[in-house]
Amino acid sequence: METVTRRLSCIVCPMGCLGEVTLNGAEIAGVSGFTCPRGEKYAREEVTAPKRTLTTTVRIKGGHLPLLPVISRTALPKESVIECARFLSNVEVKAPVSEGDIVCANILGLGVDIVAARDLN
């Protein structure tokens, strides 16, 4: 089986460790170069099923701002991020909203809730 080494920059924290994942076909044969376990976890996920946290805004009625910042409670599949952002551009909520309130439950059936990132009255 062919062994491939992929160099990855970790995106978990601002340190940005540069590490390596060795792949034996689809099997992960080794992970090295990351300074913390979160980096190793990221690398394993990145070569199998990459995920990203989404931050965007939705429209809000009756608030002191026209937009409410929102965040996905956990990371979404990377390939669905744009589609989720497009979907949220049509969502509208009503003030008042508290940080952590669910703005969109189980977005696109991906099992992840989109929640408010701030209080808005």
Partner: protein, 422 residues
């Protein structure tokens, strides 16, 4: 109407809020935050991406989330007053502040100590002198960020971004998620000044081209931007003739640097550092004028908000002590300067009072990217402390803690330099 406070803080962003809380904790009876925006939080409110607060709160928060935690703490303290929509016009050297707002008109405020936490502003097109007409559609990245994330306007549909610092990178992703086509990000330097994680998740994820060692020569269009002429630059950042090409766009975002906002400090003739563009401060963040303190991006541009909050706390505590006449005047001042590759050091002075040296944390930036260097802190020919750095980048602040015993060994002058390994 005259208002009297122990500590008055100018700017209600992360530095100002941390300063207010810390001043109260250290014994200031009455504290006032003056903020010109409609709410507290400063620039954090428009930074809706996550990644804030890993040091401070041990979790990854959005900008509004980080601000929200501080706003809650500020609101819970009845002895911290907040004036919103309020612009400070002038400060006298005897700490009389004149401010104005729509509700109260002109206000006179008397303070025992003042803390500057005004943050910074962006460099504009004028600062980098791009040729062309003055069409609509040229914005600084931060102005566009506020429009997109808070006001509900999209500044363009086809965008070119000049500058690959973190704000430029974050805006490339943000505009893409809002349905805008980001044609390219251009960077004058041969490397991105942003964090690697932002290059990966803001550009590579969306296949946005990053042209390193490139600049913009001309903006096209008369009423509205129609495109830009770009070119490659050589090692001396000079345009390489014949390398010009055009990119079509209706919007140009500039992410070309930040400048601490010090009009108020300069009106008072406070000593400034020409390299940081902020006031010269000691380890308590006291400026050259007794009783005037400064913290956060108004002193030097930070990478992480966590450090901004920390600096606010230092200034807040010292300002409260000053207001209560508990901050001893310096008997001796040590001058700290960066040489040989170290561009800036904060604090620029270390005050020694009561014969006691205290631990001091130094924040430094290098002039250019260097590999395998040793950071040397020396005084009167003696090596006080050193640290090996595998890599040092201008975009990443270096923090070194100088313990009390090391600070005590320092003479009048302290230098911080880089030495290449041989």
């Amino acid at each position: 109407m005259v208002n009297t406070y122990d500590v008055v803080i100018i700017g209600g962003g992360p530095a100002g809020m941390a300063a207010a809380l810390s001043a109260r904790k250290t014994g200031a009876e009455r504290v006032l935050i003056i903020e010109r925006d409609r709410e507290l939080g400063g620039i954090l409110q428009q930074c809706i991406h996550n990644g804030f607060g890993l040091h401070r709160f041990k979790e990854e928060l959005t900008g509004p989330g980080y601000a929200g935690r501080y706003i809650k703490m500020v609101k819970e303290d009845r002895n911290i007053d907040v004036m919103l929509d309020t612009m400070v016009l002038n400060i006298e050297s005897d700490k009389i502040i004149f401010a104005v707002n729509p509700a109260q008109g002109m206000i006179e405020i008397h303070a025992k100590a003042v803390i500057f936490t005004m943050g910074c502003r962006e460099r504009t097109r004028g600062a980098i002198r791009i040729a062309g007409e003055r069409p609509a559609g040229v914005f600084t990245a931060g102005a566009a960020q506020r429009m997109v994330n808070m006001e509900g306007y999209l500044p363009g549909k086809k965008v070119v971004i000049l500058g690959s610092g973190d704000i430029g990178l974050i805006m490339a992703r943000r505009m893409t998620l809002e349905g805008t086509k980001v044609q390219a990000v251009l960077e004058l330097m041969p490397y991105s000044n942003g964090l690697t994680r932002n290059v990966v998740q803001c550009l590579e994820d969306f296949d946005i081209p990053l042209h390193l060692s490139h600049t913009i020569l001309k903006v096209h269009g008369k009423e509205r931007v129609t495109g830009v002429t770009c070119a490659k630059v050589d090692d001396n950042r000079c345009v390489i003739p014949g390398s010009e090409f055009d990119i079509e766009c209706d919007c140009l975002l500039l992410s070309v640097g930040l400048i601490p906002e010090n009009e108020l400090s300069q009106q008072l003739n406070i000593d400034m550092d020409a390299l940081t563009s902020g006031p010269i401060v000691d380890q308590f963040r006291q400026t050259s004028m007794p009783g005037f303190f400064a913290a956060g991006n108004v002193v030097h541009v930070h990478d992480l908000v966590d450090f901004v909050s920390q600096e606010g706390e230092i200034a807040g505590a010292a300002a409260a002590q000053y207001a209560n006449a508990e901050l001893s005047a310096a008997e001796k001042t040590l001058k700290v300067s960066g040489i040989n590759g170290v561009r800036t050091v904060v604090p620029q002075r270390i005050s020694i009072a009561d014969g006691q040296a205290q631990p001091v944390r130094l924040f430094m930036r290098v002039a250019q990217t260097e590999q395998r260097v040793t950071l040397c802190i020396e005084s009167a020919g003696e090596m006080i402390q050193s640290r090996k750095l595998p890599i040092a980048k201008p975009g990443e602040m270096i923090v070194v803690e100088l313990p009390a015993d090391a600070a005590a060994r320092c003479q009048d002058q302290i230098t911080v330099s880089l030495k290449r390994e041989v």
